[in-house]
C-alpha cells in the first residue's frame, strides 16, 4: 500500500500508547457507530506512483488534440512558454507554499504578487489590481458584484460579445445575488446597446475585443454607462492589449480578463487566472487579496496582504466576495512570463499574432465557401462564416492534424444573442506567435479540403 507517511508500525504503536490506545480504531471510537465506515472505501487498491504515472500518461495519450496545430482560442490561447519560465514558476518554494499569512517568511510570493499587480495595472491602465481570481469568468462575476455593491443597484447591461461561458457563469451566480442581467445582442459582430437603459443599472459590460475577435467602439458603452450612472466594466484580451487602446483610456472603471496567455498552458481550461483591476476609489470593494508595500519593525521594505478587512474571513456574511484560495501560482507565473517577454517582447508577440491572423483571414477568404462573419476590425482572432456546419468542418480539419478553431455554436446555447440566427456555421479562428508560415499553409489546405467536402 503506497503512501507518503513517515510513520513506522513501531512509531504508530508508541504514539498510540502515549494516548493510552492500542489501535487506530480507538482514535475514531467517539464517532457514532452509524457513521463509522465499516468496509473501507470502494476504490481500486492503491498502486505505486510509477504505475499511476504510466496510467495517466496513457490517458494523456488519448487526447489527440494535444498534438495538433492549435488555431482554437476563444478565451484560451496557445502561446509560447519558454524553458526559463517553466523553470522559475515551478520552483517548489512557490508551488508548495500556502497563502502568505506570515509575511515574514512569505516575501517571495508577496513581492511577486506586488509585481504582478503592477503589471496588470499597467496593462489595464487602472491603478489597482488584485492578486488574482479563479479565471476570466470569475472575474466577470466578481465585477458584477462589485458594481452592484458600489452603485447600490442590481441591473446589469451585458454585451453578448462577452465570452459566452463567462456570461453563463454570470447568469448562474445571479440566481444567488439576484442581479438582473440584460444582454445587449451582437449585430454584425458588435454590440447593439439599448438606447434608453432606464433606472437602476449598476454596470455596463463589454469585451474588447469581443469573443468573436472584433474591436468595438467603447465610446458608446462609456456613454451608456454615464447616461445610466453605471460603472463601465471592460473585459480585455491581455495580449491584444499591447496593441489596442487601454481599457482605462476608454474610460473603464473596472477591467477584467483572462490571464492564461501569460505563461499558463492551455491545461484543458484550468487552472487559469482571473485578471481584475479597478479605479482607486473602488479599492475597498475589491474582491480577493491585494498585496501592499509597507515596512518591517526595522524599517525595511516589506510586502503584506492588505485591506484584509474586506475579506470573508473578517467580514464574514457582510463580505462582498467569498474568494479565499485564488490562483496565486498563475499570477506569479504571469509575472515571470511578462518579465521574460519584456515590453518589447510582449508587443512583438501581439504583433505576430495580429500579422498571422490578418494573413490567415485573407487567405481563408479566398477559399470558396468561406466568408467573413462581420466587417468589424479585429486583432488576433476572427470569425468566419462557412458554407457548411462549423463542427463538421473542424472535424474534417482535425483529420489533417489541424485544430481549426472553435465552433461559435459550441460555446453558446441556442438563442444566444451573440450569434445571428443560425450560427452553426460560424468558426472562431485564432493565430498566435507560435504559428509559422507552414502552419498557415496547413490551415489553408485543411480548410479548403474541409469546406469542399
Amino acid at each position: 500500500m503506497p503512501t507518503y507517511l513517515p510513520h513506522t508500525p513501531a512509531e504508530d504503536e508508541a504514539m498510540l500508547a502515549f494516548l493510552g490506545m492500542t489501535s487506530m480504531d480507538e482514535l475514531f471510537a467517539h464517532l457514532p457507530a452509524a457513521v463509522r465506515l465499516a468496509g473501507g472505501l470502494d476504490l481500486p487498491p492503491g498502486r505505486s506512483e510509477l504505475d499511476v504515472l504510466d496510467d495517466m500518461s496513457a490517458l494523456a495519450g488519448r487526447n489527440a488534440a494535444a498534438t495538433m496545430t492549435c488555431f482554437a482560442g476563444a478565451g484560451a490561447y496557445d502561446h509560447e512558454i519558454p524553458p526559463v519560465v517553466r523553470a522559475l514558476a515551478s520552483r517548489s518554494e512557490f508551488v508548495t507554499a500556502y497563502t502568505p499569512y506570515q509575511p515574514e517568511v512569505a516575501q517571495g510570493v508577496l513581492q511577486a504578487l506586488f509585481e504582478y499587480q503592477t503589471l496588470v495595472s499597467r496593462l489595464s491602465g487602472l491603478p489597482i489590481a488584485n492578486a488574482s481570481l479563479y479565471d476570466g469568468a470569475a472575474a466577470l462575476v466578481e465585477s458584477l458584484n462589485l458594481a452592484a455593491g458600489a452603485q447600490g443597484r442590481s441591473r446589469i447591461v451585458l454585451s453578448s460579445g462577452v465570452h459566452p461561458h463567462w456570461r453563463a457563469a454570470a447568469r448562474t451566480f445571479a440566481a444567488g445575488t439576484g442581479h438582473q442581467i440584460e444582454e445587449s445582442p451582437l449585430v454584425e459582430g458588435v454590440t447593439q446597446w439599448p438606447t434608453a437603459p432606464g433606472e437602476g443599472v449598476a454596470a455596463v459590460v463589454v469585451a474588447y475585443p469581443n469573443y468573436l475577435g472584433y474591436l468595438e467602439d467603447l465610446d458608446a458603452a462609456r456613454a451608456l454607462a454615464d447616461a445610466s450612472g453605471a460603472l463601465l466594466i471592460v473585459a480585455i484580451d491581455p495580449v491584444a492589449a499591447a496593441l489596442v487602446r487601454s481599457a482605462a483610456s476608454w474610460g473603464a472603471d473596472v477591467v477584467i480578463g483572462e490571464g492564461q496567455p501569460f505563461g499558463t498552458p492551455l491545461s484543458f481550461g484550468g487552472p487559469y487566472l482571473g485578471l481584475f483591476a479597478v479605479r482607486e476609489d473602488l479599492v475597498r470593494r475589491l474582491p480577493g487579496r491585494i498585496v501592499g508595500e509597507t515596512l518591517d519593525a526595522a524599517g525595511r521594505r516589506a510586502f503584506v496582504t492588505t485591506l484584509r478587512a474586506r475579506e470573508q474571513d473578517i467580514r464574514r456574511e457582510r463580505a462582498t466576495s467569498n474568494v479565499c484560495t485564488n490562483q496565486t501560482l498563475m499570477a506569479v507565473t504571469a509575472a515571470v512570463q511578462l518579465g521574460w517577454l519584456g515590453s518589447q517582447g510582449l508587443r512583438e508577440v501581439a504583433e505576430r499574432c495580429a500579422s498571422g491572423a490578418h494573413e490567415l483571414f485573407e487567405r481563408a477568404l479566398k477559399i470558396p465557401g468561406v466568408a467573413p462573419y462581420a466587417p468589424a476590425p479585429f486583432v488576433r482572432e476572427f470569425a468566419l462564416r462557412l458554407d457548411r456546419p462549423a463542427r463538421e468542418v473542424l472535424a474534417s480539419m482535425a483529420e489533417h492534424g489541424v485544430l481549426g478553431g472553435v465552433a461559435a455554436r459550441s460555446l453558446v446555447g441556442e438563442g444566444d444573442a451573440s450569434l445571428s440566427p443560425g450560427g452553426e456555421d460560424v468558426v472562431i479562428v485564432t493565430v498566435t506567435e507560435r504559428h509559422r508560415a507552414p502552419d498557415l499553409d496547413a490551415y489553408e489546405a485543411a480548410l479548403r479540403a474541409a469546406v469542399a467536402r
Binding site: 526559463v84 508551488v95 512569505a106 461561458h165 487552472p271
Partner: protein, 504 residues
C-alpha cells in the same frame, strides 16, 4: 541606474538586503525573450488596427535579461517558506506534503497542451480522467454525482448553496435562511450571502460542538439548510451529527458539508452516511495538490441523487465505449469558464489512485494520530481549547499565557518562525480566545511533531522569562515583523504607486 540583477544579497543565504522589484531591475532595451524565427510577414499595425483602436502609448512592463530574471525569481523563492522546506502546521489549511509525481502528471504534454474547447472526440483521455475522478470522489464521500467545475472551496460552497436553492425552488419552496455554526470558516457565511440566503448563526456548546437546543430553536420551514464541517473547525467531530441531520431534514432543510476537513475521516466515515446532501472538497487540502502560494485549488461538489439533476454542466459522462459531455436537465448552469481547474483535478486523481482506499484511510488515521499526540504532548504547555479527543487538528489557546505574560498567540506564532516552523493558524476559529490552530498533518513524522512541541515549550518558557523578546519575533527571517496597519493606511499596491509616493 537600475539595480544589480546579479547581486544575491537578498537571498537569505548571504547579505540580508531587500530584493529589488523587477521594475527596479529593469533597464530599457534589455530583454530575455527570444522568439522563434518566422516567415509570416510582419504587417504594419496601421494595416491591421484602425487608428481609433490603436494603443496611444507604448506599454512598458519590465525589461530584464534572462540572467536577471532568473536571479530575481530564484532569490524571491529563497525568501519564501514552503512545505518542501519544513512543517506548515496551519490548521484548517492541511498543508501536507505534495508528492512530486503529481508535478509530472500535471506537466504531461497530453494533459497540459489540450485546448478546453477541443471536441470530445479529440479529448477522450481528459474526459475519462474527469469521469474517473468524479466516481472516486463520490465513493469517498458517499454521494451520487459531482461537479468538478468549482475552482476552490469557496466556489464549491457557493455552487452547493445554489444547488440547494435550485432544489428548493424546483419544489416551489422559497426558503430564506441557512444555519452556520459560530465556529465556521469565513467563506461559509460569505457564500451564504452570495447565494441569496441569510445567515443564522448557531452557537457552539461548551464541548465545542453544535448546540442542539440552540439549533432546534433556530430551525423552521424557512431554513434552506445548514453548513457544517465535520470535524468542525475546532478539530472536533460533531458527534450528534445524526440528530442534527434528522432535525434539519425534519424541517425540509438540506445539509451542506464543507469538506475542508475531509482529511480527518477518509475511509473512516463519509459525509453521505452522516446525512449530508451536498459536499464540497478542497482537493488542495485533502488530496495534496499544492497550494501554489495561495492557489490554484479545486473545489468539486458532490451531491445526493436528489440533487444530481441540478449540477452545473457540461459534465463529462460515460457514453457507450467512450466519454461525452452532458448537461444535467435542470442544471444551475456553468460555474467556471471551462471545466474547472483541470490540471489540479489530474493531480488529485493521481493521489487517489496511488493511495487506494486503504492508503487514504491510513492518511486520516495518521493525521488524527499526530494531532492527538501533539495535543496531549502540549497539555501543560499550551492547553487545547477543548480537552477532548480531536481529529486531524486541534485548537490551542494562549489566553492563560497572555494573562500571565502578555504574550499573545501572534507572538507565539511569530516566535515559531524563528524556531524553523511555519506558524499555526491564529485567531481562528473566532470562538476561541487567543486561538492557535495546529494541524500537523499525516506527512510529518513523530520526530517532527516532537520537535514542534519542544519549540512551543521553549517559546512558552521564554514568554515567562523575557516576554519582550517574543514581541520582537521573528528575528531570523528575511524581514522582521511586518507593519500591517501601515500597509492599509498608506496603500501602495503597485510599483507606480510606490514611485508616486516617493518610495523609489
Amino acid at each position: 541606474m537600475s539595480a544589480a540583477g546579479g547581486r544575491a544579497a537578498s537571498a537569505p543565504l548571504v547579505g540580508g538586503a531587500g530584493e529589488p522589484t523587477m521594475f527596479e531591475l529593469s533597464a530599457p532595451g534589455r530583454r530575455a525573450a527570444q522568439l522563434r524565427a518566422t516567415t509570416v510577414a510582419a504587417r504594419a499595425i496601421e494595416e491591421m488596427i484602425p487608428a481609433a483602436h490603436r494603443r496611444l502609448d507604448d506599454l512598458e512592463t519590465a525589461d530584464l535579461a534572462e540572467r536577471d530574471l532568473v536571479g530575481h525569481f530564484t532569490r524571491l523563492s529563497a525568501r519564501q517558506y514552503s512545505v518542501d522546506l519544513g512543517a506548515y502546521p496551519l490548521g484548517s489549511c492541511t498543508m501536507k506534503y505534495n508528492p512530486k509525481v503529481a508535478d509530472e502528471v500535471a506537466a504531461l504534454s497530453g494533459l497540459a497542451h489540450v485546448h478546453p474547447a477541443a471536441p470530445a472526440s479529440l479529448t477522450q483521455g481528459w474526459l475519462e480522467l474527469l469521469v474517473t475522478l468524479e466516481e472516486r470522489l463520490c465513493a469517498i464521500t458517499g454521494m451520487a454525482a459531482a461537479t468538478l467545475q468549482p475552482a476552490a472551496g469557496a466556489a464549491g460552497e457557493l455552487t452547493g448553496l445554489l444547488l440547494i436553492r435550485a432544489y428548493h425552488r424546483a419544489r416551489g419552496d422559497e426558503r430564506r435562511r441557512v444555519l452556520i455554526p459560530d465556529s465556521a470558516h469565513g467563506t461559509n457565511p460569505a457564500s451564504v450571502t452570495l447565494s441569496g440566503y441569510e445567515v443564522t448563526t448557531v452557537p457552539s456548546n461548551e464541548r465545542g460542538l453544535v448546540d442542539l437546543v440552540a439549533l432546534e430553536e433556530r430551525l423552521g420551514p424557512d431554513v434552506a439548510g445548514i453548513m457544517l464541517t465535520n470535524p468542525n473547525t475546532l478539530g472536533l467531530f460533531e458527534e450528534e451529527i445524526e440528530q442534527i441531520a434528522a432535525l434539519v431534514h425534519g424541517v425540509g432543510g438540506l445539509l451542506y458539508y464543507d469538506g475542508a476537513n475531509l482529511n480527518a475521516i477518509l475511509g473512516r466515515a463519509r459525509p453521505g452516511d452522516m446525512g449530508f446532501d451536498v459536499v464540497h472538497m478542497n482537493l488542495h487540502k485533502t488530496f495534496a495538490t499544492p497550494h501554489g502560494g495561495g492557489g490554484p485549488g479545486a473545489g468539486p461538489v458532490a451531491v445526493g441523487a436528489s440533487l444530481a439533476a441540478f449540477l452545473p454542466g457540461p459534465r463529462a459522462v460515460r457514453a457507450g465505449d467512450g466519454f461525452a459531455w452532458a448537461t444535467p436537465e435542470r442544471s444551475i448552469g456553468r460555474v467556471h469558464g471551462w471545466h474547472g481547474n483541470a490540471l489540479v483535478l489530474a493531480r488529485a486523481l493521481a493521489y487517489i489512485e496511488i493511495h487506494g482506499g486503504e492508503g487514504l484511510r491510513a492518511v486520516a488515521e495518521h493525521a488524527v494520530l499526530n494531532a492527538n499526540w501533539l495535543r496531549r504532548r502540549l497539555a501543560d504547555v499550551l492547553p487545547a481549547a477543548y480537552e477532548r479527543p480531536c481529529m486531524h487538528e486541534c485548537v490551542l489557546t494562549a489566553s492563560a499565557l497572555k494573562e500571565a505574560t502578555g504574550v499573545r498567540a501572534l507572538d507565539v506564532a511569530k516566535s515559531l518562525l524563528d524556531e524553523g516552523f511555519h506558524a499555526p493558524t491564529v485567531y481562528f476559529p473566532l470562538v476561541v480566545e487567543e486561538a492557535l490552530m495546529v494541524e500537523p498533518t499525516e506527512t510529518e513524522s513523530a520526530e517532527t511533531v516532537e520537535a514542534l512541541a519542544q519549540a512551543l515549550e521553549r517559546i512558552v518558557a521564554r514568554a515567562h522569562e523575557d516576554p519582550a523578546a517574543l514581541h520582537e519575533a521573528p528575528r531570523t527571517t528575511p524581514v522582521g515583523r511586518v507593519d500591517e496597519a501601515r500597509a492599509a493606511r498608506h496603500l501602495v499596491t503597485t510599483e507606480d504607486a510606490a514611485r508616486r509616493n516617493g518610495l523609489r
